[in-house]
């Protein structure tokens, strides 16, 4: 059942938009691209002050007991203004894994810090193109992890990671305290994601889920994150569509606004269609949490959001002509982010497979 936002939820959208527009600008974000290992402190401070880190976590551990519908609304706004750090989604994923699969001791140890934002969480599942690899690069054995978790978003600053690791011939979902762990920063085209390889070298780790259930648990966490990210992508695409529209209304050529030319106006109308499909799928998916078809809905949301943001980034720059490719105007910030978000939480290939497995009734 798709939902309509209630007044409280609409207030979250309005308030988060106001806060982010006041605190985050492209002038803050552009320099981060040319530094290594820095995030936008104003963004993360805002997230903590506004209670966004606590939003979808249980009240017992300092959370606000809301869910991915509300977190999705924040992520949508963060997508519009460009979030200055990946932690809102990465910490949420880590916290949900601990909340759903952890012991009372594990929850008491990690959730209050994740809810306040003092603790930063990361998800370390992927290995290259594989969002949930059959043979993860890191191995868990007798309470210790060996090997590397490659290219973990937020990994440079995370205090705790949820790792999808090899466990003998099987897989396990484990918690790793990252205190003292060696990290190798990865310079990327979107540096504020603070991406790092985590080099475990015998770090101690506690199990969350082992055996057959580990993969399903990891997939569920990934799907929760994917829905939040889909909202963020939709927000980015929506902002780009509006920027393109506004530019097409003001820029003139041959004596008329370029938006009067069908090659331009149809392109923007097509973006409108992609944004609305992405929004509809994201809202629907958020409302399906806990239902049997949640992964199906999350996959659809992820696919249409990625298509919308990628296309919007491409077309918005194209509509701007020369000015669109300058460093100063900052449209490349969205272009970079659109690809970052396309790769985090599983690529389109991964979600296409998740979706078709389910549509064909061949779910594993």
């Amino acid at each position: 059942m798709s939902i309509l936002y209630d007044e409280g939820q609409l207030a979250i959208a309005t308030e988060s938009r106001r806060a982010l527009e006041a605190r985050v600008s492209k002038d803050d974000l552009l320099p981060l691209l040319q530094t290594s290992g820095q995030y936008h402190d104003g963004f993360w401070m805002t997230a903590k002050e506004q209670g966004w880190t606590a939003l979808a976590l249980p009240e017992t551990y300092g959370g606000l007991d809301l869910g991915i519908v509300e977190l999705g609304l924040i992520a949508h706004q963060a997508g519009r203004t460009l979030s200055g750090a990946p932690f809102l989604t990465s910490s949420f994923g880590a916290a949900k894994a601990i909340e759903l699969y952890g012991s009372d001791e594990q929850k008491a140890r990690w959730l209050p810090g994740l809810a306040s934002g003092e603790t930063i969480g990361a998800i370390a599942f992927a290995s290259g193109p594989d969002a949930l690899p059959a043979a993860p690069a890191a191995t868990w054995k007798a309470g210790q992890v060996e090997g590397t978790a490659p290219s973990v978003s937020g990994g440079l600053f995370a205090d705790v990671a949820i790792l999808f690791a090899q466990d003998g011939g099987a897989r396990a979902l484990v918690i790793v305290d990252l205190d003292g762990i060696e990290r190798k920063a990865i310079d990327s085209f979107d540096n504020s994601r603070c991406i790092a390889d985590l080099l475990f070298a015998g770090a101690s780790a506690e199990p969350l889920v082992t055996g057959e259930a580990a993969r399903a648990a990891a997939l569920h966490i990934l799907a929760l994150q994917a829905v939040v990210t889909a909202h963020e992508q939709t927000g980015g695409a929506e902002a780009l569509m509006e920027i393109a529209r506004d530019y097409a209304l003001t820029r003139k050529a041959f004596g008329q606004p370029i938006g009067a030319f069908q090659s331009i106006k149809h392109r923007i109308a097509e973006l409108y269609g992609l944004v609305e499909l992405a929004r509809a799928n994201a809202i629907h998916a958020a409302a399906r949490e806990g239902e049997d078809d949640f992964v199906t809905a999350a996959a659809a949301a992820r696919l249409s959001a990625t298509e919308a943001y990628d296309t919007a980034a491409r077309d918005c720059i194209q509509i701007h002509g020369g000015i669109g490719v300058t460093w100063e105007i900052g449209l490349h910030l969205h272009m970079r982010r659109s690809r970052t978000l396309a790769l985090e939480q599983g690529s389109s290939f991964f979600w296409e497979d998740m979706l078709v497995d389910r549509l064909a009734g061949e779910t594993t």
Binding site: S2, Q262, H266, A269, A301, L303, L355, A360
Partner: protein, 401 residues
């Protein structure tokens, strides 16, 4: 169960009970005339069961319920392939416009009742050979003739005109003013002397659309449904009547499940096509598109239920769904290879990929072409400028032909 859920359950049960009489099996092998006769009986059955004119006023033989009940019923009805297509235009636009703008209320009441019972069909005489998207450029003219009017000219693409008893028509009554200011709206008797209907065979083989010729067709002034020169506004009102009908994210083509079944049956390179990445990608993309449209439509319903006006995103359905159906139908033929050649033009575009494919271009043109819909989104929703229009403000008879 909410009231609406129980309404849906009752509607679903009624539709189910009609399947033996009016379902796909009952229609199989019928000629168009036989199918139309069956359709009239179906429409009468709907009327008797209280499912005709669901959201129309009770004093005009309607049920006096809301739009939400109407689309709830239609959502159930469309699952079964009943012969209701002959009445879609009639009850969708001309008859509601008659209800709103018809002067003689006794006449209106009688026509509405007969239309609801499937006894009479109305058509909509808008498009012309030189006026499609640019409706206001139409040339069929009405001149004063005593106390009435005399119509001369030609309409085209008129759905079901060959079976229609009446039609609503927009004609030019003053060629000396700007094009949209010289139009007037009437109703006409399709059986009147001087009206000639000639069916047009479409690419897919069916002939539901027609050319309609008017040769000195005389009507009295009480046929007029707009002020003289005020026809364009009523024409727009006609087109705006049903912005939210029960929509179909399959673009009136086959359900995606049929494609998935086909991909499981067919082998590509020695393994089921469902395992082929190219096919999987298209299935996934198509599903995501349909799921988005379904969610938009569901949200629109919930908003209507809550007494709110749905957002403009509902206008995406036809644009997005029909062109996706066209591509998916091509792909389904690819999947079948040479087995895909077999074609029976009597199959329904909802059940058969070749039929869906060959009729898809009609869907992308009828009721607003893709390009027109994109213009509408750009201009009405996003506030982008209109295209350059050299004929703007120019008297109709001075526009270069």
């Amino acid at each position: 169960m909410t009231d609406l859920e129980s309404y849906r359950a009752k509607a679903a049960a009624w539709c189910e009970s009609m399947v033996p009489f009016f379902g796909k099996a009952a229609r199989k092998g019928l000629s168009v005339e036989e199918d139309l006769a069956l359709g009239r009986r179906y429409q009468k059955a709907k009327f008797d069961a209280g499912y005709a004119g669901i959201n129309w006023p009770t004093d005009l033989a309607g049920q006096g319920l809301g739009h939400i009940e109407k689309i709830t019923f239609e959502g159930e009805e469309m699952k079964h392939g009943f012969p209701n297509v002959y009445f879609g235009i009639s009850l969708g636009m001309p008859v509601p416009v008659l209800m709103q703008f018809g002067g003689d209320r006794e006449f209106v009441k009688e026509r509405v009742l007969k239309a609801l019972q499937g006894e009479e069909i109305w058509c909509q005489l808008f498009s012309e050979p030189s006026a499609g998207t640019d409706l206001a450029g139409l040339r069929t003219r009405a001149e004063t003739d005593g106390n009435g009017w005399k119509i001369n000219g030609q309409k085209v693409w008129t759905s079901w005109a060959q079976y229609s008893d009446y039609g609503v028509i927009v004609v030019r009554t003053d060629p000396t003013v700007a094009k949209h200011k010289g139009l007037t709206y009437f109703w006409v008797d399709m059986k009147a002397p001087g009206v000639t209907v000639r069916p047009i065979k479409l690419a897919g083989g069916d002939s539901h659309v027609n050319e309609v010729f008017f040769d000195d067709v005389k009507i009295s002034d009480d046929h007029r449904m707009s002020p003289v020169g005020g026809g364009f506004a009523v024409a727009l009102a006609t087109l705006m009547i049903e912005r939210y009908v029960a929509t179909d994210s399959a673009g009136f083509g086959p359900h995606l499940d049929l494609f998935v079944e086909l991909a499981k049956e067919v082998q590509l390179n020695g393994r089921p096509a469902i395992e082929d990445g190219r096919i999987r990608q298209q299935i996934a993309r198509n599903h995501a598109m349909r799921a988005g449209l379904d969610s938009i439509n569901m949200r629109a319903r919930l908003m209507m239920q809550a007494g709110m006006t749905p957002g403009p995103e509902g206008s995406l359905n036809k644009l997005v769904a029909v062109r996706s159906r066209q591509k998916l139908s091509e792909l389904a033929l690819d999947l079948q290879g040479t087995d895909g050649f077999a074609f029976d033009e009597r199959t329904s575009p909802k059940d058969d990929w070749a039929s869906s494919w060959i009729n898809a271009p009609t869907g992308r043109i009828a009721g607003g072409s893709d390009e027109t819909l994109l213009n509408t989104i750009a201009e009405r929703i996003l506030g982008l400028p209109q295209d350059h229009r050299p004929d703007k403000g120019v008297p109709f008879n001075q526009i270069p032909a």
